[in-house]
């Protein structure tokens, strides 16, 4: 789970990999991001969790805190995910807990993204002393281990509710995004179209928002998704080690009780498996969205698809690293000669 889930280094748009039929309307291109199977899967799963976050408390069959006489029961028709040591229904706890997780994740992501745009883009665009100062600031935040810092700040605050936790996480995890944005802004700000806009007398503010920012969209989006992953993990960790208020249900709280009541020693696997799986699935979904963004921006990273191509003269060529498969729709198959020779040599 190391920091960058995205490895975007440049957003120079490259030509579409798939042959664009002349007849296909331009509208389909806009949907290309969603057409990416990774991104699509991720988005669907994310939407599912968002839905649960909204309706979870209403569809939960029991009150998550209500005790009953079914103590530590394995999953059954009555309690889908089993019960806790107090007879609480774990399925309801997971459903109700989703809201807290999504709220903190998205809010922290928003705060951190806003900060990273503010600091990263201004550092990159302004340059000079402002750049030095702001980059030093973000490097400091990058190097200081975030989790211990979050733990200490959150545990010093008297009542760490969801809002507080989200803010603490947001204010400590913007540095990576700022760094990437700064690098990209640096490379954009001397491009011709920016110079042209500058020459026509546009204000700095307008240059940043209308010339630079649109070209940073992919990086901002992937930074946002990455921060949400980190925020969800941090929040669950805080709840798991018992820092945030235990009265609010979230997946970490469930794990906290499972751990403190020795669920493992009692063989109560159903107590911690659903919450953990939920975290893992949400995390995977977000990572998939990020892969989708990466591949959208840099088609070379795409893994799936036609790596084996039959050329017209009956040869079969495996497209390899170092060149983006471009399947021409024309009759003549495009096959670089040098590569093919190398291919045969290996075979």
């Amino acid at each position: 789970m190391s920091a960058p889930t995205s490895t975007i280094t440049a957003v120079t748009p490259e030509g579409p990999e798939v042959p664009s039929n002349p007849g296909v309307p331009a509208k389909r291109r806009r949907l290309r991001f969603i057409a990416n199977p990774k991104a699509a899967t991720g988005l669907v799963v994310l939407a599912f969790f968002c839905l649960i976050a909204i309706i979870g408390p209403w569809i939960a069959p029991y009150d998550p805190s209500a005790r009953s006489s079914d103590l530590i029961q394995p999953p059954s028709g009555k309690h889908w995910f089993g019960t806790t040591h107090l007879g609480q229904d774990i399925f309801s706890q997971v459903l109700v807990g989703t809201r807290g997780v999504m709220f903190v994740g998205l809010l922290a992501g928003l705060v951190a993204t806003a900060l990273s745009i503010l600091i990263g883009v201004s550092a990159g665009f302004l340059g000079g002393a402002a750049d030095d100062g702001l980059s030093a600031l973000s490097n400091v935040f990058l190097v200081i281990p975030a989790l211990p810092l979050i733990i200490i700040v959150a545990s010093t605050i008297p009542s760490a509710g969801d809002l507080m936790v989200a803010l603490v996480i947001g204010f400590t995890s913007w540095a990576w995004g700022a760094r990437v944005l700064r690098a990209q802004t640096l490379s954009l700000r001397r491009r011709d179209y920016v110079e042209a806009a500058r020459a026509t007398g546009e204000s700095t503010w307008r240059l940043i928002t209308f010339e630079i920012m649109p070209n940073l969209t992919a990086i901002i989006a992937s930074g946002f998704v990455g921060t949400v992953i980190f925020a969800v993990m941090s929040e669950i960790t805080l709840a798991f080690i018992g820092i945030s208020t235990i009265s609010d249900w979230n997946w970490g709280t469930i794990l906290f009780w499972a751990q403190s009541q020795q669920a493992l020693a009692q063989g109560a696997w159903w107590w911690f498996v659903p919450a953990g799986l939920a975290i893992a699935v949400l995390g995977t979904a977000l990572s998939l969205i990020n892969f989708g963004i990466d591949e959208f921006v840099s088609p070379r990273l795409r893994s799936s698809g036609h790596t084996k191509v039959k050329t017209k003269d009956g040869h079969s060529v495996r497209m390899r690293v170092g060149f983006t498969p471009v399947l021409s729709s024309s009759r003549e198959p495009v096959t670089p000669v040098v590569r093919r020779r190398a291919e045969e040599e290996v075979a």
Partner: protein, 326 residues
């Protein structure tokens, strides 16, 4: 040399920033939880110990902020981090001295191993893009999305138990006395296997992914084509031409994500009750032991800075361009 000095200056600056953050956190929070703790132990603490806590947590309202700051620095430089309340009356510095080697050994070895394994898998996955190796990506993504501690819990349930080879908690057999004896080291290794495996599984995929993507990017460079054209063997092009250049960003990424990995390791220690810094932090949080918490934060931050410096030296050795300037 210039590069190294620049980095050194940066780390000194970061250390200063971390210490200053540490100074301000307790002062910004309304109310002072430490006073109540001090009152609780009133009779048992020496005036000196109370004084040092006053300095660390800014309880002395008469002193100006600046003089508090100067006092704080003086104290930190003497290694005086106050008394721990959880392990009263042991000084925080002593507790940390005891647990730091455990954490460093665990994190150091596993991080290095996962970097090595992940990077080599990434090289192959990137070079053979579109082969079965790409199937590895979703699997590792899923594994890396699992929180460290949950994987630890799962590992304990599945693999550890009273009859199992893997102990479920602790750093060594309870009966043994820590020392450089064979039985102690054997027991320590046996206890570290499961936590190490947990960290390895969750952290390796990050390296695979970044390395794969770097390989894909590097492989389209002209010098790779030239190497192919020269008729060099596939293996040589992959290792000496592509991988060597793709490695550089990964090494600097390694330095940057260290703080992140350390954070994850703290959790693994908590789950396995491993006698390291992370477990200290857990105990401190449970008991609201602020001096110990602050001490843990300081020690972790400083260790990460040192590790970063080492990574920079490695970068220096790997990338001749940075060496040339000096």
């Amino acid at each position: 040399m210039k590069f190294l000095l620049q980095r050194l200056a940066f780390y000194v600056f970061t250390a200063w920033a971390a210490l200053t953050i540490n100074f301000f956190i307790p002062r910004l929070i309304p109310g002072d939880p430490v006073t109540s703790l001090i009152n609780k132990f009133q009779g048992q603490m020496s005036t000196e110990a109370i004084n040092s806590l006053y300095v660390l947590f800014g309880l002395d309202k008469n002193a100006s902020l600046w003089s508090q700051y100067v006092d704080y620095w003086g104290q930190v430089f003497h290694g005086d981090l106050g008394l721990s309340f959880t392990f009263f009356p042991t000084p925080v510095a002593d507790i940390l001295k005891q647990s730091l080697p455990w954490t460093i050994a665990l994190v150091g070895i596993t991080t290095f191993a996962s970097f090595m394994i992940g990077t080599s898998l990434g090289v192959v996955a990137g070079w053979r893009r579109g082969s079965i190796m790409d199937g590895l990506l979703p699997v590792t993504t899923f594994l890396s999305s699992i929180p460290y501690f949950w994987l630890g819990l799962l590992a304990i349930t599945l693999l550890a138990g009273p009859d199992s080879f893997f102990p479920s908690s602790g750093g060594y057999e309870p009966g043994l006395v820590p020392g450089w004896t064979g039985s102690f080291i054997g027991s320590a290794i046996q206890h570290s296997l499961l936590p190490a495996l947990t960290i390895l599984i969750s952290s390796v995929s990050g390296w695979i992914l970044t390395m794969r993507n770097m390989m894909v990017t590097v492989a389209s460079e002209d010098y790779i084509t030239v190497a192919h054209a020269k008729g060099l063997s596939e293996r040589r092009v992959m290792v000496s031409y592509a991988a060597r250049n793709a490695l550089l960003p990964n090494v600097s990424g390694f330095a940057l994500s260290l703080g992140f990995i350390v954070g994850g390791t703290l959790l693994v220690e908590i789950v396995f009750s491993y006698p390291g810094i992370g477990y200290n932090l857990f105990q401190a949080v449970g008991a609201k032991d602020y001096p110990l918490m602050q001490g843990v934060f300081l020690v972790i931050t400083l260790s990460v800075l040192v590790a970063n410096l080492l990574a920079d030296v490695a970068y220096l050795l790997l990338d001749p361009r940075t060496r040339k300037e000096g």
